[in-house]
């Protein structure tokens, strides 16, 4: 076993273990932390596959930004795990049955007989100065320009939808008005009081 293969198996094991922890933990914060581990492990696998840019993006975007926000939300919400788990045992047999069927199908189809090395040869290794960021960039705005623009519109819709659904005008909320704060004069805030000196 080459060292690279060894690394792959270690990362794959960590990934699968972390992923199963995500769905079995009772505490959602623990699940989220294991999800971060799963992201890191899969970004390692991507590095092995020479997709360096995607690997670093996965860590930066998902671990750095998305999961932090996610943890933030989880800690702000008071999630009652007991009610969520109330119907769990009742649907468990059906779920396990479905899972076994899916896993069997997956093993049957996505196995070496259909996707083995003799069907798809391993890709050639790229030279050390090969930049897959440049490769991605060169197709992103040419071949995939149209899908790229559509994806941008989807992000815009997400912003509009999120603001539209959550922004409420509450008259009772206190907020600061920067314009007023900046324009304030000394006379508005400070009142000089002439006091007589105390005698005695």
């Amino acid at each position: 076993m080459t060292f690279e293969k060894f690394i792959f198996y270690v990362l794959a094991f960590v990934l699968i273990a972390a992923a199963s922890m995500v769905i079995t933990r009772r505490n959602p914060v623990h699940s989220a932390l294991f999800l971060i581990l799963a992201f890191v492990a899969s970004s390692g696998i991507w590095l092995l596959a020479e997709a360096e840019f995607l690997a670093i993006t996965l860590v930066l975007v998902y671990v750095g930004a998305v999961m932090v926000l996610f943890l933030f939300v989880l800690m702000m919400l008071d999630i009652d795990v007991a009610t969520l788990r109330a119907g769990f045992m009742k649907v468990l047999p059906l779920g396990v049955l479905m899972m076994l069927a899916m896993v069997a199908e997956l093993v049957f189809v996505v196995g070496p007989q259909n996707f083995g090395l003799e069907k798809f040869a391993a890709p050639a290794r790229h030279a050390a100065d090969y930049s897959n960021t440049a490769e991605l960039g060169s197709v992103l705005y040419t071949v995939y320009m149209f899908p790229f623009e559509v994806a941008a519109v989807i992000l815009l819709v997400a912003i509009i939808a999120a603001i539209g659904l959550t922004m409420r005008k509450r008259p009772e909320t206190k907020y600061q008005n920067p314009t007023k704060q900046v324009a304030v004069k000394r006379a508005d805030r400070v009142r000089m009081v002439k006091m007589e000196t105390e005698k005695g």
Partner: protein
């Protein structure tokens, strides 16, 4: 690198709708609440312009631009114009409803236009990537629209269900797409059909991917057994949004199915009998017609009833697609367009019957409508007869063409099942007519719908009759869409 700007011409409708949506978004920021009618006006005029532009860029031949991402052909022209016009009518009906409930805000039109853009992109997609992005654009806008009435618990619940099941369906679709990509090495529909024609392909992986793709499609269509979200979403969403989801998006769902199943995976119609998508679609169609029609009978809420009726109509649309012939696709397209018109009218009536502080959602609210407003009772009569498939309304011809296409590919038993279930389905449509004409009204207040709604609703009802008398025009448009 050279950029040929003439490739932008076929994409003009999408560019226009996107610009329109952004203009509406910005203009609306500067309007006061009482000026909101301007947002509405810009949206409506824009949609008409979008339809005109679509017609203006029509070319006799199909054009594939943006390195195979985008296709403009006869089918996309027809479906886009239909989507723009149906959305126009849906927004028109929605206006008074939104005004009465304090929901008359710019976001409705912004999100609505983005949904229209998403549908347009789906109609013109030539690769799995683009069709998926179009679908997500549509779905994301719709999730927000379903939850548009933030004070309604039902709306929030419906949006949540829609969101989770929609995400699940997208996951299925993507997984299937990845399998198909693994087997063929392409995601472009035109390349896919050539790749599939080669004999040394791995059928097992393809069929596995196909199953997931069809399941994803069925979720989006709302076909049984993936229909659970339909009644809840139709019921929980504001009627103005239900109207939009029930009409325009069905056209997009049809485009989604045809692009993927015909343009992309047409070669997989039936490799070895039931293994291809025909067998799966037969199951979906029969279950949809059966479950949709039977459960609709038990409903007392008209929005839920129309939701189950949608499921049964989806069964009929799938029936046309599964024939897999040019005749079948034409019939399915005819059915989809007709269904969009009928659904607009049906939900339009629900809106016209409602007023401030009162939702005409119960079937009992339709009792004695003929005393309160004989004209609108007559319109509802036409729409219900058309949904049931009674001649001379156009619903009859829509069903007839679909059944004819199915019989001509020797699936007579499927056609018979379809007829059987539509006879059962006729019961609940005709029950509404009985309530309107033979029962005493619960309240005698006249309808309060505005003049624009009245006029368009009348045209909508009459169009069902007119198209039924002269179906040849619409049929020839549909035939031309799949010719050659």
């Amino acid at each position: 690198m050279h950029f040929d700007s003439s490739i932008l011409i076929p994409v003009l409708p999408e560019i226009f709708v996107l610009t329109l949506a952004c203009i509406v978004l910005v203009v609306d920021l500067f309007l006061k609440d009482e000026q909101r009618i301007i947002t509405y006006g810009i949206t409506q005029i824009g949609l008409i312009f979008a339809a005109v532009i679509t017609l203006a860029v029509v070319q006799p031949d199909a054009q594939i631009v943006f390195d195979g991402s985008y296709v403009r052909d006869a089918m996309s022209d027809v479906l886009k114009v239909a989507i723009y016009l149906v959305s126009f009518v849906a927004f028109l009906y929605a206006k008074d409803y939104l005004k009465d409930r304090g929901l008359f805000k710019g976001e409705f039109y912004t999100l609505g236009l983005f949904a229209v853009l998403g549908m347009s992109i789906m109609v013109s997609a030539n690769s799995f990537l683009v069709i998926y992005l179009g679908l997500e654009l549509l779905a994301l806008s719709l999730y927000a629209l379903v939850a548009f009435n933030r004070d309604s618990k039902q709306g929030a619940e419906a949006a949540m269900k829609y969101f989770i099941l929609g995400a699940l369906a997208s996951g299925m679709l993507l997984y299937g797409i990845s399998m198909i990509y693994g087997a063929t090495g392409t995601i472009r529909f035109d390349e896919l059909s050539t790749a599939l024609a080669s004999p040394d392909l791995n059928n097992m992986v393809l069929v596995f991917g196909l199953v997931f793709v069809v399941v994803g499609l069925a979720f989006k269509f709302g076909a049984v057994p993936f229909h659970m979200w339909v009644p809840d979403v139709y019921h929980g969403a504001p009627t103005a949004v239900t109207l939009f989801i029930g009409s325009a998006t069905k056209i997009a769902a049809f485009a989604l199915a045809v692009r993927i199943l015909k343009d992309g995976l047409g070669e997989l119609l039936m490799p070895g009998g039931w293994e291809g998508w025909q067998g799966m679609l037969i199951l979906l169609a029969i279950l949809s017609m059966g479950v949709g029609n039977l459960i609709a009978i038990a409903q007392t809420n008209i929005k839920r009833m129309l939701a189950y009726s949608t499921i049964s109509h989806v069964g009929f649309i799938l029936l046309g697609i599964l024939a897999g012939t040019q005749e079948g696709y034409t019939a399915a397209m005819f059915y989809t367009l007709v269904y969009a018109i009928m659904s607009l009218g049906g939900f339009g009536m629900v809106i016209a019957m409602s007023r401030k502080g009162f939702e005409a959602e119960s079937l009992d609210d339709y009792k004695g409508l003929s005393h309160r407003s004989p004209w609108f009772a007559a319109m509802m009569l036409l729409l219900m007869f058309s949904m049931a498939g009674v001649p001379p309304t156009v619903g009859f011809f829509a069903k007839l063409f679909v059944l004819d296409a199915v019989v001509s590919v020797d699936l007579t038993w499927v056609a018979l099942v379809g007829v059987f279930f539509s006879i059962i389905g006729a019961f609940y449509y005709i029950r509404i007519i009985k309530l309107m004409y033979f029962d005493k009204p619960l309240d005698d207040s006249p309808l309060t719908a505005g003049m624009d709604t009245r006029i368009v609703l009348s045209l909508n009802g009459l169009s069902v009759l007119a198209l039924g008398m002269f179906p040849a025009g619409l049929l020839s448009i549909c035939t031309a869409a799949f010719a050659g």
